[in-house]
């Protein structure tokens, strides 16, 4: 037993060294910049089919050695114990006979003389005993009948792994060696596949990657709980180890499950609501919505109404709480306008509408994520090379663009799931008295909004701004002017003007990528901690303790790797910034406890800026080196003032 646990230890330790394998060089850039945002990193490793076979073989060898049993027996025992070597040892030594009995291991029976003929119990033909085969129980059948028996069982599915002797009432297990000896290559391959599948599917620590066509599996390097655990396969796809849905941290598996069921249950309503036309509430003619504004006007009867609640537009004034709140239900209820029946109907509608709000944003972010994924692939394939010539820079130094895209992809995923979270976390109608709920909702929505705002900005810069820049470069030809003496080119691409424009863009994008990442780190951290705990934390903890406790774990590695580029400095700086902002947030929260805006990450902090030697524009995120200037050198945004519209 002791030997065994030693073995297990070293086995895990060597795996940990391989980790993290989730960042293998698909994109060919520094894994340091991998955008994955998670506070609690899961320890896991990705195994290819070959590696899985090796792992399986290792487990078998181990059990064969410790229990002194054959490979065929080891397969049975391991399968019975869900490929958990420790469990094998426990069960085997607790009651060997009972276990052997249960899984059909029988002692090898003596075989008779081969120079004797016997009738096969299946085909009734006579064979030399030496030509017949048997499981250890020694109930012999001819090779042809074994083949038929085994092939039929293999065609029947994975249950073949528990195949027993054909003799009724004999429960002896048919060893894998006999199965493979009598079957043809096609069936043999299938059998091996079932065996490998069992190794993964019966094993609590292993899960197949659900991506179509991917044959890798992910192995958890620790005891698995039934909590969400995002993993990324070598093929690039991310999924939750616990529930097999796409990766959804920081939202828990239960919420995701509810949300997915809800979406399919509501699919009919969704079609209706996502449609671009609705009947005019007055004349019933179909009205198409082709702009963002909710104020509709019927082309036929000129009736004006609200797209969201279909009420007359007159009722959407200041009186009812303003346009975007669209809270007619609330005020109508207060006025006692509804009888019980219409109240019920109205409630159902509001409930659906509320769901729609979240669903639309969830679905739009999902779509945006797919778009970002293909944009990233496109950039990797072609765009960087074009750009490389325009700015006289090797593509290896343009990887920050891919990093930006990768950040967009990851943030879209997180943002998407925060909408499912928001839907379930806050009810249809939080009563005014429930200030704690209101406060938490405000807190959450504020931070979600901040993160979303920066994500939209990042997305815009890496998408539209970059395209515009490339268009601009195209208009100024790269190679020009032939000198009188022959062919001397003025290389526009490396002109100081272009280099200046380019480096400014580069700094902006790198900075924006990092700032966006920080906002999402914060959002994820909040959800993982739980909003109620966070609020309690802000209102109760003394300042000194607070400082000690809120240390974002995930970014500490970045802090450790001190380096020279502004981007990396920004990375190193960021945790302190966020820590500090939390603390000043707490002070602000004390003053104006209801104002969610008080929790701003943007809190000015000259001390930290002085330490860093720069200040970062909150609007365009450019790094400003002049610590005395109060406005951004790039966009003229005031250093401390509210962020102006772009």
């Amino acid at each position: 037993m002791e030997d065994d646990s030693d073995y297990e230890d070293s086995y895990v330790a060597s795996d940990v060294e391989d980790y993290p394998t989730s960042e293998d060089g698909d994109y060919g850039y520094d894994p340091q910049t991998e955008p994955e945002i998670s506070m609690r990193r899961a320890a896991y490793t990705v195994l290819s089919e070959e590696e899985l076979k090796l792992r399986q073989q290792e487990a078998l060898q181990q059990v064969m050695q410790v229990l002194s049993i054959s490979e065929g027996e080891a397969v049975r025992v391991l399968r019975h114990c869900k490929w958990d070597v420790n469990r094998v040892n426990e069960e085997w030594f607790a009651d060997t006979e009972a276990l052997r009995d249960k899984i059909g291991l029988v002692d090898e029976q003596p075989t008779g003389s081969g120079r004797r003929k016997e009738s096969c119990g299946i085909c009734f033909d006579e064979f030399w005993v030496s030509e017949m085969h048997a499981a250890p129980c020694n109930h012999s059948f001819c090779r042809g009948c074994w083949k038929g028996y085994v092939h039929t069982a293999i065609s029947g599915g994975p249950a073949v792994l528990s195949l027993r002797c054909p003799l009724p009432d004999c429960s002896a297990a048919v060893p894998a060696a006999l199965v493979t000896a009598v079957s043809d290559p096609k069936h043999r391959e299938k059998y091996h596949l079932y065996s490998l599948r069992s190794f993964v599917e019966d094993n609590q620590r292993l899960e197949w990657c659900p991506a179509p066509g991917c044959e890798n599996a992910v192995e958890a390097l620790h005891e698995v709980s039934n909590e969400a655990m995002d993993v990324t396969c070598r093929c690039g796809s991310s999924f939750c180890f616990n529930c097999k849905e796409e990766a959804h941290r920081p939202v828990d598996c239960e919420t995701v499950k509810k949300w997915i069921i809800k979406n399919s249950a509501e699919s009919e309503n969704l079609n209706w609501i996502l449609a671009n036309t609705k009947p005019c509430p007055k004349c019933k003619r179909p009205i198409e919505k082709n702009q963002g504004c909710m104020h509709m006007s019927c082309s036929q009867c000129k009736h004006e109404f609200c797209w969201l609640c279909l009420a007359s537009w007159q009722e959407h004034g200041e009186r009812t709480g303003g346009f975007y709140n669209c809270n007619k239900y609330e005020s109508a209820k207060k006025r006692g306008d509804y009888d019980a029946e219409s109240l019920k109907r109205e409630h159902a509608r509001v409930s659906l509408q509320r769901y729609m709000h979240y669903y639309q944003r969830w679905a739009e972010n999902d779509r945006a994520r797919s778009q970002a994924l293909s944009s990233k692939a496109e950039a990797n394939d072609k765009k960087l090379e074009v750009l490389s010539e325009f700015v006289a820079t090797p593509t290896s130094q343009l990887k920050f663009i891919l990093d930006a895209w990768a950040q967009v992809v990851e943030c879209r995923r997180i943002l998407k799931w925060t909408y499912a979270y928001g839907y379930y976390r806050f009810g249809d109608n939080i009563p005014d008295e429930d200030t704690a709920q209101k406060q938490q909702q405000g807190f959450f929505e504020f931070n979600q909004g901040q993160a979303e705002m920066f994500l939209e900005k990042l997305n815009g810069v890496v998408e539209k701004d970059l395209d515009n820049l490339v268009e601009e470069f195209k208009r100024e030809p790269g190679l020009s002017e032939v000198a009188p003496d022959g062919s001397v080119f003025v290389d526009q691409a490396s002109s100081p003007e272009r280099q200046a424009v380019w480096s400014k863009f580069r700094e902006q994008l790198i900075g924006l990528t990092e700032v966006t990442r920080m906002h999402f780190v914060k959002l994820v951290q909040e959800l993982e901690k739980g909003l109620d705990q966070l609020l309690a934390f802000y209102s109760e903890q003394p300042e000194a303790e607070a400082e000690a406790e809120v240390e974002p774990a995930a970014v500490s590695t970045a802090e450790a790797s001190g380096s020279a580029t502004p981007a990396q400095q920004a990375t190193a700086k960021a945790p302190k910034r966020s820590k500090r902002s939390r603390i000043s947030s707490r002070a602000a929260a004390d003053k104006a406890s209801n104002s969610a805006a008080a929790f701003s990450l943007q809190e000015a902090d000259s001390e930290l800026e002085a330490e860093a030697g720069y200040w970062q524009c909150r609007r365009c995120t450019v790094i400003n080196r002049d610590l005395n200037s109060q406005s951004c050198s790039m966009c003229a945004q005031n250093r401390r003032g509210p962020i102006s519209a772009s």
């Binding site: 038929g148 028996y149 009724p168």
Partner: protein, 154 residues
């Protein structure tokens, strides 16, 4: 046609058929069809001290292409009131499904069916309402089964 089929028929089926005719199991008759040697007309006598006593139950039995790797297909032709046999005469019996083994034979299958008539198992029902009847009021269900035997299996 007949002799050609005979030639293709596996030795095992020929041997089984011969033995069924030469040493029949008590209360069981199984005769292969002349035109199709894989198709058997079967008659089972209702076992003594069961509600099927005195009845003669006709069944059909067919040996599929992959017999004996696959189980024979058996069905009651005579109407019978039994919790494990449905209106169409299909039989709920483990050895006809997942517990089938190529080392079992036509004879063992028919003996198992005969045993099923002696010991109905309403906990593993095929005919839901019959099984319900059996569980709720066994005496009445047995009377009903006996009435069916008198009516259909004479």
């Amino acid at each position: 046609m007949g002799s050609n089929q005979q030639a293709q028929l596996p030795r095992r089926i020929i041997k089984e058929s011969q033995r069924l005719l030469s040493e029949p199991a008590p209360g069981i008759k199984a005769v292969p069809n002349e035109d199709n040697l894989r198709y058997f007309s079967v008659e089972i006598d209702g076992p003594g001290s069961s509600p099927y006593e005195g009845g003669k139950f006709r069944l059909e039995l067919f040996l599929p292409e992959d017999y004996p790797m696959a189980a024979p297909k058996v069905r009651f032709l005579t109407k019978i009131y039994h919790p494990n046999i449905d209106k169409l005469g299909r039989i709920c019996l483990d050895i006809l499904k997942d517990k089938w083994s190529p080392a079992l034979q036509i004879r063992t299958v028919l003996l198992s069916i005969q045993a099923l008539l002696s010991a109905p198992n309403p906990d593993d029902p095929l005919a839901e309402n019959v099984a319900k009847h059996w569980k709720e009021n066994e005496a009445e269900a047995v009377r009903e089964a006996r009435a069916w035997t008198m009516r259909w299996a004479r």
